[in-house]
Symmetry: C2
Subunit: 199 residues, 2 copies
Amino acid sequence: MKKLGILLSGRGSNFQAIARSVQAGKIPAEIAVVISNKADAQGLETARAMGLEAVCIPSKGLKRKEFDRRVVALLKEKQVDLVCLAGFMRLLSACFVEQFPDRILNIHPALLPSFPGLDGQRQALEHGVKFSGCTVHFVDTGLDSGPIVAQAVVPVNDDDTLAALSARILSEEHRLYTEAINIVLSGKFRIEGRRVMRT
Amino acid sequence: MKKLGILLSGRGSNFQAIARSVQAGKIPAEIAVVISNKADAQGLETARAMGLEAVCIPSKGLKRKEFDRRVVALLKEKQVDLVCLAGFMRLLSACFVEQFPDRILNIHPALLPSFPGLDGQRQALEHGVKFSGCTVHFVDTGLDSGPIVAQAVVPVNDDDTLAALSARILSEEHRLYTEAINIVLSGKFRIEGRRVMRT
């Protein structure tokens, strides 16, 4: 059984979607550990309520490298095969990324490379695009910049509020993250340049 | 009858699509003039073969303002209501844009704000996005940066060549430009910030 490690900083709605897929047998893996850099992250409580191991490694006051070293040590101890960021609000250092080559995923609520960073949904709405969506990508040391595994598109309507658009994207996020995890766990892909292609 | 002015620098495949829509009665307007900044643009020949007025105003050796002044003068003489850029490879100066407020359109072969500038299709393919498309937007003085009128999405397939992706996008461009021209000619839209909304 492959092992997933989840990193989050808040509610972890995408973590919950992954956990539901695992429970439903839609992802052939188990969640080995859920790690938050914030003690009050709601995702930690949710994980514990689901009987999962949930650990806080506080980032506050730690240098990036030291925080990353502690997280990597725990992920390695738990023999994690794939790291899934689910609302984890920190960049990873090279020493973290190098420990899990092509084995760290993130999900972003926009059609990257449009609207990286915070508030992808708001950025899309204010820019006036007619379509937005979400992106699951491999994580490198940049901001939402690694090779793209999967994307989903949603329309942006003229009467959309930020809440309406965000809900439409979130629904696709939950579906897409499971799909992308399965692509990566299957190993049936190759990366050419920045292109992630199914094999 | 509303009057369109077309600006192009090359083949003008989008100009031809607009001309077909006009002939088929799908755009309630006539093409008053086709202007190229290059004497050898194939679009000029095509226009003449269709019985349209086709004029070269060479940009080479002219200062931007002087070139723009001449083009504006011709568009005004022809009483053009809407200016459509169709592969026109120049930025417009503020003195041009101000003469046609919210009345200049451009089409770009990518889902802006991703991949502005040259070779939008190649940029998309090399970046590894799973969806690309095309965008019709109002023209400001920036590079493919004005408010978005309409967009269309196409998938990017793992086995896509640049030619295959470009053809898929071009087919959508031809459909989308007609749709966007009709939105603008109808006047049934408003612009809030950067958002172009139907009314």
